[in-house]
């Protein structure tokens, strides 16, 4: 996308809160905040998920609001708190960005712009051919299956449902503020199922992957198998559970 288009979109950005869930990400969270600030003029809330390092201090010094959970809850807990804060403080849009630097804030205006036709927009990785981000086949297969089922549930084509890069309008925020499971994969897959079943329109926008600034994702075959199994459990539960609809 051309730079002037981004600037135009950026200027027209609604009142947006970027929520960054962070657990012991002191090494990268400062740069993530700086990168967001370079791209767009938004408020940034870092939800410190019970970090034992200096994540909160680094985030505060980088100019973000910091909400500290008293102990580790997982991404689901951090994000539900973030969406609640966004809802209560009257933000029009909440954008979730990971603290490890894998999401490019340059894609943010495009995500927010896509909210014109949707309540929740997912920043989908792997959608660009030049992406170097790779995953093992078993994990890849699990993600494909998840994407396929989620595409049926949301009645739209989704390719990356485990992405932690997403934007929500107030309707989407309300769904996430009420139900954002803290269980493994609940924060990604199940939360989407819940939102879809609460009547939210979900779309995806391709985004660029950046190499993780620090730390590595584990992709051993055993872990991938466990991932697949847990993904299936999360999916079946999400599809069969009852959610109270307002």
């Amino acid at each position: 996308m051309a730079a002037d288009t981004i600037a135009a979109m950026s200027a027209a950005l609604p009142r947006t809160l970027v929520v960054v869930p962070a657990w012991n990400e002191a090494a990268t969270v400062g740069e993530v905040i700086a990168a967001i600030k370079r791209e767009v003029d938004v408020d940034i809330l870092v939800v410190d998920d019970g970090s034992t390092d200096t994540t909160a201090e680094v985030a505060g010094n980088a100019g973000a609001l910091v909400a500290r959970l008293p102990f580790n809850l997982g991404v689901g807990g951090a994000m539900r708190a973030g969406y609640r804060y966004a809802l209560r403080h009257g933000y029009d849009v909440a954008v979730q960005i990971d603290a490890d630097g894998q999401h490019d804030p340059a894609d943010l205006p495009e995500l927010v712009a896509a909210l014109h036709g949707a309540d929740i927009v997912i920043g989908a990785r792997f959608a660009h051919k030049e992406d170097t981000y790779s995953v093992r086949w078993l994990r890849w297969w699990a993600m494909l299956l998840l994407a396929w089922v989620l595409s049926m549930v949301t009645r739209t084509r989704l390719t990356d449902v485990t992405s932690g890069y997403r934007a929500a309008n107030r309707r989407g925020m309300a769904a996430f503020a009420r139900h954002y499971p803290a269980e493994y994969l609940g924060d990604t897959v199940e939360s989407l199922v819940i939102a879809a079943r609460l009547g939210c329109v979900i779309r995806q926008v391709p985004v660029h992957m950046r190499q993780r600034a620090a730390g590595t994702a584990s992709h051993s075959p055993l872990r991938s198998a466990v991932y697949l199994a847990r993904a299936m459990v999360a999916l079946v539960l999400a599809l069969t559970r009852r959610w109270d609809i307002e």
Partner: protein, 125 residues
């Protein structure tokens, strides 16, 4: 009265006294006490009238009375474990919600007072 019968009676009565004492000290809540009281009553009846246990065993078709007792004990313990798991899950959800609200409130208080809070988070209990 046979020796095993006396042991059974003493155990059942002991269980009763323990439950009442725990309730009196408010260490046991009524909603948990009920199921334990029912169990104590069953144990008491079984110890006082073993013939009843034999008759039920014959009626259902178990080979030995001990099979019936183990079967009932297994069912009861299973039901209790499930109940505790449910309670624990509810507590976890409540603790989670409180922790989230606490984090939001703390941020809002800091914003209003202009305090910069550099205290490390509370250690996990």
């Amino acid at each position: 009265m046979s020796a095993p019968q006396i042991v059974g009676l003493v155990t059942a009565i002991g269980l009763f006294l323990l439950l009442i004492e725990l309730l009196r000290q408010r260490r046991l809540r009524e909603k948990y006490a009920l199921v334990w009281f029912v169990l104590a009553v069953i144990a008491l009846v079984g110890a006082a009238a073993p013939t009843l246990v034999y008759r039920i065993t014959d009626l259902i078709g178990f080979q030995l009375p001990v099979n019936l007792i183990f079967f009932i004990a297994f069912l009861v313990l299973f039901a209790l474990s499930v109940q505790f798991s449910l309670e624990l899950g509810r507590m976890e959800e409540r603790v989670r919600t409180l922790a989230e609200e606490l984090a939001i409130l703390r941020l809002e208080v800091e914003q209003q007072n202009g305090i910069k809070d550099d205290e490390p988070p509370v250690d996990e209990v």
